[in-house]
Amino acid sequence: MKFLSTALLLVFSLFYEVNAQNNNMALVEGGVYLPLYGTEDKLVKVDPFLMDIHPVTNEEFVKFVKENPRWKKSNVKRLFADKSYLNSWTSDTTFTGIKNAPVNNVSWFAAKNYCECQGKRLPTIDEWEYAAMANKDVPDARRIKSYNQYILNWYETPKTFNKPVGSTFKNYYGIYDLHGLVWEWTEDFNSVLISGESRKDVDKDANLFCGSAAIGASDLMNYAAFMRFAFRGSMKARYSSQNLGFRCVSDLKN
């Protein structure tokens, strides 16, 4: 009986792995979490969703551009992408760097449209942050020192964008590279107001989504999150950056 159940489990997990690998997405079980700018009574609920296990690669994006010529670097409307869009590409369809490295220098508009063309969408900040709390072993590793130090070290390391996807750790949900290669676009990246004057942002008056929680933010986890929020706050939807890529998510289909 025990043997049978183990075998069953094995087969099942094998099937699950294969299945997950086929569509390259992993299930993120939902739950509640406390975001950086939250206070104890502002827990946020995240519904279950599927997330790409890798960021979108150069190779994948070139294919998209070929199928959707309006996203070619020579065609793109300045309204939707500034001059640095696909900056390092030597032509409309030739990228530099390795083919399975994350695509970078794409605007939010382009990223959003890419996901829509795949029948997917960009993750929300909450979805992204929720999935990215996980380390190898647990869904919320934010209080683990080594995990935070890993993230901070990555933020400090220059030029990590040209590495193959999947080269960092596989997290609890089976998702790779949320930390370690590039920053990633989120659907509502500019919804948390970071004014650029971070010291003002800790003011209790600016009570949008911010809160007094940030004042006592001596936890390492907050520092890592601060940097992500600061980065998002510095971007506009038509901007692009060498250290910024994206991945897609989709809702669970019932």
């Binding site: 990590t160 650029g196 003002k200 950056s241």
Partner: protein, 489 residues
């Protein structure tokens, strides 16, 4: 060769003076007009600001009119060397720590172009303490990687001001080196002096302790605990010592623009063997005279001036003295010229004095519960020499000097030293346990104290091997086993 250079410089200066004279001769009558409120000072003409890397400063403003001054500053995140063998990723304004020096005069309108290099990973901004306006410009200058922000302000208050990055997490951006100085000179400029230099102190927090080799990551926990591994002038250990020392001639007046980036520690700035004739306290209008040590707050600055009367090497320190000799807060001013025995006569008597009960102090050993990370072992003789040299430069050089020559009358030489070459066991013992009392080296008597060093067997072997295989010594190869044997005696 030298004379031609000098000649060229003289000609250039003459031309410069001529140009200035020309300019002043045809300037408008504004020069005579006084303004009660700096806001009313009009600007004419545009000028690109001269920016300099430490320890240099741009040309004084002199008598020039207020102008529209264009400052073009690029932010670079780049790897540098904290001390030999130790790498660190610095975040910089203009590629150096501290960032480029900006020199302005009251009434200037600054058009500030802040550029964030596309290779950078993070957004940044700048808060200049010389700005009257929200965030000191931080909010208006928040710039994403690969972008440029332009903002402008008028400088109203004369003084020496710190600028720094104020992007979240602010402490981390400052701790990685994002600070510098902006000087606002009064109308007519500061009184001319012979030499001017730019120095800025900063504290750094690394994963490994002082001197631990390799690329060292920023340690947020140590930063929060304010437990600095490095406290340095101008960004790294040795930025102002040896060949990098600043210089002056006897009789010259030296002006130092001294800032403190922090992020945490205040500086007790002191020049060993000099008294500050003048200190512009906290960089403002108040001038104090005859000051030994001046306090420079984190995020603050001071201008100090002194005339150098005699030749020699003058050591600049943070007089919280362990920072100077154990964490790197040490710089040098080398003064050349004629001796003046009236001012300083040197040693005139050397006698014997033996008090009771002098005890050698010892350094803390790492015998705690926390086991340190395994150290990198030298695999070859060459590596041993390299590691040994790094350790020497980090630990021994302050007293025994870069070429082992020591300091006559104070610290014995290691170069071609009979006392060293006669007995290797004794040498190991001194490094491990310290030494005090009189010894004779190469026929000269020394009577001072060396503290016991908290070094591993490996470190002691490397550093002694380096010493024995340099400067005409007897080429003994000291092994960790030999050190261990002495330690366990």
């Amino acid at each position: 060769m030298r004379t031609t250079i000098k000649k060229q410089m003289v000609t250039k200066m003459l031309v410069g003076v001529g140009v200035i004279a020309l300019l002043t001769s045809c300037v408008n009558d504004q020069s005579d007009k006084k303004y009660d409120d700096a806001i009313d000072i009009p600007v004419n003409q545009e000028m690109i600001a001269e920016l300099t890397a430490p320890p240099m400063v741009p040309t004084p403003v002199g008598k020039r009119m207020a102008k529209k001054l264009i400052v073009d500053l690029e932010i670079q995140e780049r790897e540098g060397e904290m001390t030999s063998g130790v790498k660190y990723v610095y975040w910089t304004f203009g590629g150096t720590v501290p960032g480029s020096f900006i020199r302005t005069r009251v009434g200037d309108e600054i058009e500030f172009h802040l550029k964030n290099h596309p290779d950078n990973k993070l957004p940044h901004n700048i808060d200049l303490h010389s700005v009257n306006g929200p965030g000191g410009g931080a909010e208006s200058s928040f710039v994403a990687p690969g972008h440029e922000k332009v903002f402008s302000f008028k400088v109203l208050n004369p003084g020496l001001y710190v600028y720094h990055c104020a992007t979240a997490p602010v402490g981390m951006h400052i701790a990685n080196g994002m600070y510098g100085l902006i000087l606002v000179e009064p109308e007519g400029g500061l009184p001319p002096v012979d030499k001017e230099y730019y120095i800025m102190q900063g504290d750094f927090y690394t994963e490994g302790k002082y001197g631990e080799r390799g690329l060292q990551a920023f340690d947020m926990q140590k930063a929060i605990d304010e437990n600095a591994d490095y406290v340095v002038f101008n960004g790294h250990v040795g930025a102002m010592t040896g060949d990098n020392a600043i210089t002056a001639e006897v009789g010259e007046t030296v002006r130092l623009f001294v800032g403190n980036g922090g992020p945490n520690l205040v500086s007790s700035f002191h020049v060993i063997g000099e008294i500050f004739d003048k200190v512009y306290v906290e960089g403002g209008d108040l001038v104090n005279e005859n000051v030994q040590t001046t306090l420079i707050p984190a995020g603050g600055a001071a201008i100090v001036e002194f005339k150098v009367e005699v030749p020699g090497t003058f050591i600049l320190v943070d007089h919280s003295i362990f920072r100077a000799f154990n964490k790197g807060a040490l710089g040098m001013l080398k003064v050349q010229g004629e001796e003046n025995e009236k001012v300083f006569a040197g040693e005139i008597y050397d006698g014997i004095y033996l008090p009771e009960g002098s005890v050698i102090q010892s350094m803390p050993t790492s015998g705690g519960a926390k086991k340190p990370k395994e150290e990198i072992k030298a695999l070859s003789f060459e590596e041993k020499m390299k590691f040994g040299k790094d350790k020497y430069m980090a630990t021994c050089v302050a007293c025994h000097q870069a070429n082992g020559q020591g300091i006559p009358g104070a610290f014995p030489p290691l170069a071609n030293a009979d006392y060293l070459n006669d007995d290797v066991t004794r040498a190991i013992d001194i490094v491990l346990h310290g030494k005090s009392g009189e010894i004779t080296v190469n026929g000269k008597k020394y009577n001072s104290v060396m503290t016991a060093q908290a070094l591993s067997d490996e470190d002691v072997a490397n550093v002694l091997t380096y010493v024995y295989n340099s400067w005409d010594n007897n080429k003994t190869n000291v092994t960790p086993e030999m050190v261990k044997a002495v330690r366990n005696r």
